[in-house]
Symmetry: C2
Subunit: 409 residues, 2 copies
């Protein structure tokens, strides 16, 4: 294009991703100018101890927020939107916890709020769900949206090491943060699933609507038995329409070998979208990393420079369904004596829970009973689990992990 | 949004996809209005024997071309763009063969030309490459972009049946057309790869720049031997930067079990994009089908109603590199006598071709020699193949199929 005007970007935050973004803008400014007719440049940078937000705001037409956390990020983003600036953010907690307020501010000001990098790094799930499938009735979005936990589970399965040992290794390799609690506890994946559910179902879902569990209680045992049963373990996020409402959850889950998500290993992310009109599409790629995340941020900047795009408008508020049906793996440590299996089967049978497979193995005084159930309501299953825990031959607290039934084989 | 104006769509073509699109517009008009503020409606339909193009053009703001083929589709699309109408098309041959002319017309008129449905059905590869990764330096785009051939290869491997028999079955099931030559001969995949290469590398690539082969010569034998070697066969499209230029090709190719495209079976499509900044992302889903394709078309309509988007501008013309390095599988039927393997190895060795694995099996009078080579220049390999064909113990024309080396395991 003949005439190229400058597009001034205010950059908030100069950590790993911020530095990668600043470098990428410099390297790809010509390419962006060719696509959009506008040449991006970093007009100002707000660091922890340097720079003044108000003067950066006044001097920018797009604000890129890469600080992370909810405050002061929320304050800066709101003030940017209110000042009529487009905003790009990679901040999943911000969008998941304060989405309603932020989208409303963007709508009022007639500006764009983009956040591709907040979910699955460079894998463009936000754009695909919000734009490509914007008018499609999506029934389910699910996948692996946290690279730290997927790396840890892959390594636990590969080496047989404990969660604690693998976590240390992940920290050494830069796949886990010094404080890993948001990742391994599931809060990070929950925030991402809240964002995906909001866009997929067009309803105001927040972090509080997501029921989540992490992987801190996973034992090497579980992974060893799972291998015998042909299963691999993933921390799954699942957002789906259920009984007129929606259910949004994050939980560790076994997948059969034929499942499309079973081969996703290491720090990779993968998201599947199901809709009657398209059956399903799957997207996968690196879930994090400074340069991949910065690439997603730059993609959003290019979109803003290229033209308008729809701002998310939440529709009717959908009920959040919390008691859904699931299939479970159950690990019991019991005294090795006659009648134990019959007693366990009796508790399960009375709760209407049907067993799909059993592996029993004696270890001298004790035995391990590993079972996979057919699908049953979670409340019924957990009630049965409480009953099982009371049985006098139980030697440890029963452990349960969800299983996705083998629908693909 | 409070005020919703109508968006009038002129629909050219009322076949399988056209009918699905008309139905989808009616079903999802409210959803589109909510996202974009504009309510789409079909203002006129051009059928083979019914309707008048000029009056439909005058009455529409968006023209959706679902006729297929190059004429009269090219004429209608050009006239629509010149009349200042946005155009959405699912027509890969049109974009691959006449892209330069069409993009130029869209730019001149300041309107959008969108074609997500032209490649990989509902899998949003166009949007991801053109928008999400628009400013990213992409080094390679490759994948399975023809569902008919992937279905046929999957069934040949599964059942051991011949190409001809499986083709009949594919036609009965609706996975192959009455005249399947564009699909099985590779021209359909070649058109799609030309489009992907154009967008990925920002250069004017047309169908003539794509070297393509189909799957009509694949023998059940090849698939049986491949299984022994741990390989699965796919018709791959590969567009990549090579030696300062680009190479765009379509060819049947063996993949090792660990390759991300190996599990893509039946009529599914999958595309991988490689870029230094993002490592790689993979997208997969149904490659065709009326409803899936119509969903992609509607996604494009929604984008047009929502705002502007960049029109593709070809950059510098890149050289098309035709002699690239590949790894090959080689199937030889030879007389079963001493010295045969040595003579074959001698020809290969003199051409600088190194052998990776060999399976030899006698069948009485004859023997089969199945070999996998390390990577070598294709021209050197084909020259060696001509030499091999001249050897007096050769009982049939040597057969060669490319192999992707096991980079993922």
């Amino acid at each position: 294009m003949p005439v190229t005007s400058e597009a001034r970007i205010g950059l908030l935050g100069m950590g790993n991703v911020g530095a990668a973004f600043a470098e990428l803008v410099a390297a790809r400014a010509d390419a962006v100018a060719e696509i959009s007719g506008r040449r991006p440049m970093i007009a100002g940078v707000l660091r922890r101890d340097e720079g003044d937000f108000d003067s950066i705001l006044g001097d920018s037409e797009i604000v890129v927020e890469l600080i992370g956390g909810t405050e002061p990020a929320r304050d800066y983003v709101l003030r940017s939107l209110e000042a009529g600036k487009h905003v790009v953010t990679a901040n999943k907690q911000l969008v998941a916890q304060h989405g309603d307020e932020l989208f409303e501010a963007a709508r009022k000001a007639g500006v764009q709020l983009r956040f591709e990098a907040a979910v699955a790094g460079a894998v463009p799930v936000i754009r695909v769900i919000h734009e490509s499938l914007g008018a499609t009735e999506i029934t389910k979005v699910f996948g692996i949206v946290n690279g730290t936990t997927n790396f840890i589970l892959t390594e636990m399965a590969r080496t047989g090491a404990s969660f604690a040992d693998v976590l240390v290794r992940a920290q050494e390799l830069g796949y886990a943060e010094a404080d890993p609690s948001d990742d391994v506890g599931g809060a990070d994946a929950a925030a991402k699933m809240a964002i995906l559910a909001r866009l997929a179902f067009g309803t105001a879902i927040g972090l509080d609507d997501v029921a989540y569990e992490g992987i801190t209680d996973i034992q090497p045992d579980d992974l060893a038995y799972a291998k015998e049963l042909g299963l691999s373990l993933k921390l799954l996020g699942v957002a789906e329409r259920r009984e007129g409402g929606v259910s949004v959850r994050v939980f560790p889950c076994f997948l059969y070998g034929g499942h499309p998500l079973a081969p996703i290993e290491g720090p990779f992310n993968a998201v599947m979208v199901e809709a009657p009109a398209i059956t399903e599409i799957t997207m996968s790629g690196p879930g994090a990393g400074g340069e991949a995340t910065a690439t997603a941020v730059l993609g959003d900047v290019v979109s803003i420079l290229s033209g308008d795009a729809p701002v998310h408008v939440p529709g009717e508020r959908l009920e959040v369904v919390r008691d859904v049906a699931s299939s479970f793996y159950l690990h019991l440590e019991v005294a090795d004596r006659p009648g134990v299996l019959a007693a366990v089967a009796d508790v399960l049978g009375q709760s209407g829970i049907s067993v799909r497979s059993v592996v029993q193995r004696g270890t001298g005084e004790e035995a391990r009973l590993v079972m996979v159930m057919h699908e049953t309501s979670e409340s019924a299953f957990y009630a049965a689990l409480e009953e099982l825990a009371k049985l006098d031959f139980m030697r440890a607290t029963p452990r349960a992990i969800r299983v996705i039934e083998e629908e693909f084989l």
